[in-house]
């Protein structure tokens, strides 16, 4: 079955979004709620690429509350996505730093330590294993892959939301997918040998 492109950002959306950010900055909580709807998946994905899944939902709320408090400091409304992404990564870094010894900070998370919300079925366990492998990839690859494969965002949407160029998102998606394929094949080979 051929699936259609998931989401293509309408041309006028960025203008509409700038208005939402301006309104939110002026205290319009409903506008901020709309921004949450648009960016929650990005924030969730960035966090999922870095912290244990069980912590992600709470941290999403924390990130948006922090953004709400700091929104007055955002100078260019058109860069809301890049700004929010940085706040999210900072918050994840803080979590990482507090829970993992210094010398381990730059090491990828071991796939065996990956957690799932529920691990009571084979499918859940397989999903947890795959997520663990994705989280073990280099930082540049794991974020776009999680936004694409977990959050269901398209490449153009990832670029638009995070403020990155199409080129860098595209390259990281393809290279990351290639590396993920290799790692999954290695895992499968290891499992069959065991």
């Amino acid at each position: 079955m051929e699936r259609q492109a998931v989401i293509a950002l309408p041309a006028g959306e960025s203008r509409e979004e700038d208005s939402l950010v301006s309104a939110a900055r002026n205290g319009d909580r409903a506008a901020f709620g709309c921004l949450y709807d648009r960016y929650a998946r990005m924030v969730h994905g960035i966090l999922l690429a870095r912290v244990p899944p069980r912590e992600v939902d709470d941290l999403v709320q924390e990130v948006f509350l922090l953004a709400l408090r700091q929104l007055h400091g955002l100078r260019e409304v058109s860069r809301f996505g890049a700004w929010l992404g940085t706040i999210t990564r900072n918050r994840a870094n803080d979590y990482f730093r507090k829970t993992i010894p210094d010398e381990k900070v730059t090491e990828p998370v071991d796939e065996n330590h990956a957690e799932s919300r529920t691990t009571n079925s084979t499918a859940d366990q397989e999903a947890a294993m795959i997520l663990g492998v994705v989280r073990g990839l280099p930082e540049a690859y794991r974020e776009p892959l999680i936004l694409r494969l977990v959050e269901g965002m398209t490449g153009p949407e990832i670029a638009a939301r995070t403020g990155l160029t199409h080129g860098s998102v595209r390259v990281n998606l393809y290279r990351g997918m290639q590396m993920l394929r290799e790692k999954l094949a290695e895992s499968a080979k290891g499992a069959s040998l065991a």
């Binding site: 079955m1 051929e2 699936r3 259609q4 492109a5 293509a8 319009d28 909580r29 409903a30 901020f32 709620g33 949450y36 929650a40 998946r41 969730h44 994905g45 999922l48 899944p53 939902d57 999403v60 709320q61 948006f64 922090l66 709400l68 408090r69 700091q70 400091g73 260019e76 860069r79 890049a82 700004w83 940085t86 706040i87 990564r89 900072n90 870094n93 803080d94 730093r97 900070v105 730059t106 799932s116 919300r117 999903a127 795959i130 994705v134 540049a140 999680i146 494969l149 977990v150 959050e151 398209t154 490449g155 403020g163 160029t165 080129g167 860098s168 990281n172 998606l173 997918m177 394929r181």
Partner: protein
């Protein structure tokens, strides 16, 4: 094409990608938005209504009381803002007996406070950490002197006079800055270590995110895994990845900080261009604006061979140092969005007058 399916979900579906989507979809974000609008409604409900239906004596009393309250609050806030520009940083002893001003933090003493103008000093056997809830945490190694310069809302500035700090910052980018004798370090969302020796020479190593380093118009961006040296009167050198070859790092240090003849400089540049790997695009991008007009074409060609310039970036534009093209190329390298730096560096580009 299958690649199109990975990119935007169009074209022939890739079964492997579909399988991954299906498996991982269970982790997808599914929390509804918090009730931000209800917060507004709650505030609105508290507002007094039907004021114009009150008797005129009550209206007059209410207006007078409001004016009195407003004047009192204004005077109070003005006094407060003069005496206390921001919350103090909490200081916790980690080892030994670090000192804040004249106050020594011993084993039995509780946490201290670091106020504006105060200096935290650790001797050769003591360590401390300072924390501000909305900004981050800084661990201070033995043999350090760290001063709090400013602490206003959205503007936290420390001065590291000597020693080593490890900073973990969760404040939005551009709000946390550290002066050193030879450069200003602006946090752009990261974890980093900054060392300053007695001569004022500095070394910044980024663990996560990236940091901007600037002095006298010289600017360096240091992403995770990279290092940048800085020297008094010269400013920040060219950043490089720790994994670069020994000959590359040695040539770069001499290129940045030693005086040499044009022939020696050409030889050093030659080593850098030959030894550069794909990751060293970071270093070559910085060199574009640090080499002479005559040398820039060879740096451009080598960088373009390692990391092709994105659409809209031309050789001519880069050779004349067109800022928007340089920025676009930087963004394409994937180390961080340069918008953050261009937005925030204006406020911090020179060391504080209070910093030594």
């Amino acid at each position: 094409m299958k690649d199109d399916y990975l990119w935007d979900g169009s074209g022939e579906p890739d079964p492997e990608v579909q399988k991954l989507e299906e498996a991982l979809g269970r982790y997808r974000q599914n929390q509804p938005a918090p009730k931000f609008d209800e917060i507004t409604q709650t505030h609105k409900a508290k507002r007094p209504r039907n004021f114009f239906n009150w008797r005129w004596e009550y209206q007059l009393s209410a207006v007078a009381a409001s004016l009195l309250l407003a004047v009192t609050v204004f005077l109070f806030m003005r006094q407060r803002s003069r005496g206390n520009p921001g919350p103090s940083w909490d200081v916790v002893r980690l080892e030994g007996a670090p000192r804040v001003g004249w106050h020594s933090l011993g084993e039995k003493s509780g946490p201290g406070k670091l106020g504006i103008g105060q200096t935290l000093v650790t001797d050769s056997t003591s360590r401390a950490s300072i924390t501000l809830d909305e900004t981050g945490r800084v661990e201070v190694d033995p043999g350090s002197r760290l001063r709090l310069v400013t602490n206003g809302p959205g503007r936290k500035r420390l001065s590291l006079e000597r020693g080593t700090i490890h900073a973990v910052i969760w404040a939005p980018p551009g709000q946390f800055v550290v002066d050193t004798p030879s450069a200003v370090a602006v946090d752009l969302g990261c974890i980093y270590t900054l060392h300053v020796d007695d001569s004022g020479t500095g070394l910044l190593r980024t663990t996560m995110g990236w940091v901007g380093f600037k002095l006298n118009g010289h600017e360096s961006f240091i992403p995770a895994g990279a290092i940048c040296q800085t020297r008094p009167r010269i400013g920040p050198g060219t950043p490089y990845f720790e994994s670069a070859s020994e000959s590359f790092r040695s040539a770069l240090s001499r290129f940045d900080f030693e005086s040499h003849t044009p022939a020696e400089r050409n030889a050093l540049l030659g080593i850098l261009l030959v030894d550069a790997r794909k990751d060293d695009a970071l270093t070559l991008w910085h060199l574009l604006s640090r080499v002479s007009d005559a040398d820039r074409p060879v740096v451009y060609d080598r960088l373009a061979s390692l990391a092709a310039p994105p659409a809209g970036v031309t050789r001519e534009g880069i050779l004349r140092l067109d800022r928007s093209m340089l920025d676009a190329w930087w963004n394409a390298l994937g180390f961080g969005d340069i918008y953050l730096w261009r937005t925030y560096e204006r406020d911090w580009s020179q060391p504080s007058r209070n910093a030594k």
